[in-house]
């Protein structure tokens, strides 16, 4: 079966420091990969998505970047964190084909607090 893991689960970082959140998917190949952010409150905002290695689409201009160095690995980064980067970050994946194609499955999430 397929599983998705992201880490770290919790992170407290000072303003201006770098960020690296990692996510890996197991049990599948060539998935679509996503990074979402959920600020205090409720809505989920799509940050980046990737349909293949090295292919990254950005949904909103911001202080963050994403990379996909391997088929099942997705990394969210920042060179210098801002206070506004605080939030709950969710990595997700979806199969491209099959009976559950386009269904998105989420990781456990990472809490980021920028202080």
């Amino acid at each position: 079966s397929q599983t998705i893991h992201q880490w770290p689960a919790t992170l407290v970082q000072p303003v201006g420091s770098p960020l690296s959140l990692e996510c890996t998917v197991e049990g599948t190949s060539n998935p679509n990969l996503y990074w979402y952010r959920q600020a205090a409150g409720r809505g989920l905002q799509l940050l980046f998505y990737s349909v293949g290695i090295g292919q990254i689409s950005s949904e909103v201009p911001q202080n963050l970047s994403a990379s996909r160095p391997q088929d099942r690995q997705f990394i969210l980064s920042s060179k210098k964190l801002l206070l506004s980067d605080s939030g709950f970050y969710l990595c997700a994946w979806s199969p491209k084909t099959g009976i559950m194609g386009n269904t998105i499955y989420f990781g456990e999430g990472s809490w980021l607090t920028v202080v």
């Binding site: 809505g43 709950f88 499955y105």
Partner: protein, 116 residues
């Protein structure tokens, strides 16, 4: 651009009763997917149910069922025999089938509380 609207920020239901959560969406596409996700206090997003727009039959998963009205662009979630474990934030979401990498567009969520 596609949008998803959940007009009920909060809902409450008595244990063992039935509750319906509302969702409307806007799209010019004819084929797409709709989803309901549950987010308990742990914050992990859990898939509840999935509906394919080209299927007229409403999806069901145990105590969870949807009322999909394609012409009205409405997609409500009915939870029968509510249990304490159903208390969570529920999100309605839309996904285009073609292009766009299958990304989800979420509504703002409905917080469901279950009273014992």
């Amino acid at each position: 651009a596609q949008t998803v609207t959940q007009s009920q920020p909060e809902m409450s239901v008595q244990e063992a009763e039935t509750v319906t959560l509302s969702c409307t969406y806007d799209t010019s596409e004819s084929d797409y997917y709709l989803f309901w996700y549950k987010q308990p206090p742990s914050r992990q997003m859990i898939l509840v149910i999935r509906q394919e727009a080209y299927k007229q039959q409403n999806a069901t998963e145990n105590r969870f069922s949807v009322n999909f009205q394609k012409a009205a662009k409405s997609f409500s979630l009915k939870i029968s025999d509510s249990q304490l474990g159903d208390a969570a934030m529920y999100f309605c979401a839309y996904s285009a089938i073609y292009n766009q990498g299958g990304k989800l567009i979420f509504g703002q969520g409905t917080e469901l509380s279950v009273k014992p």
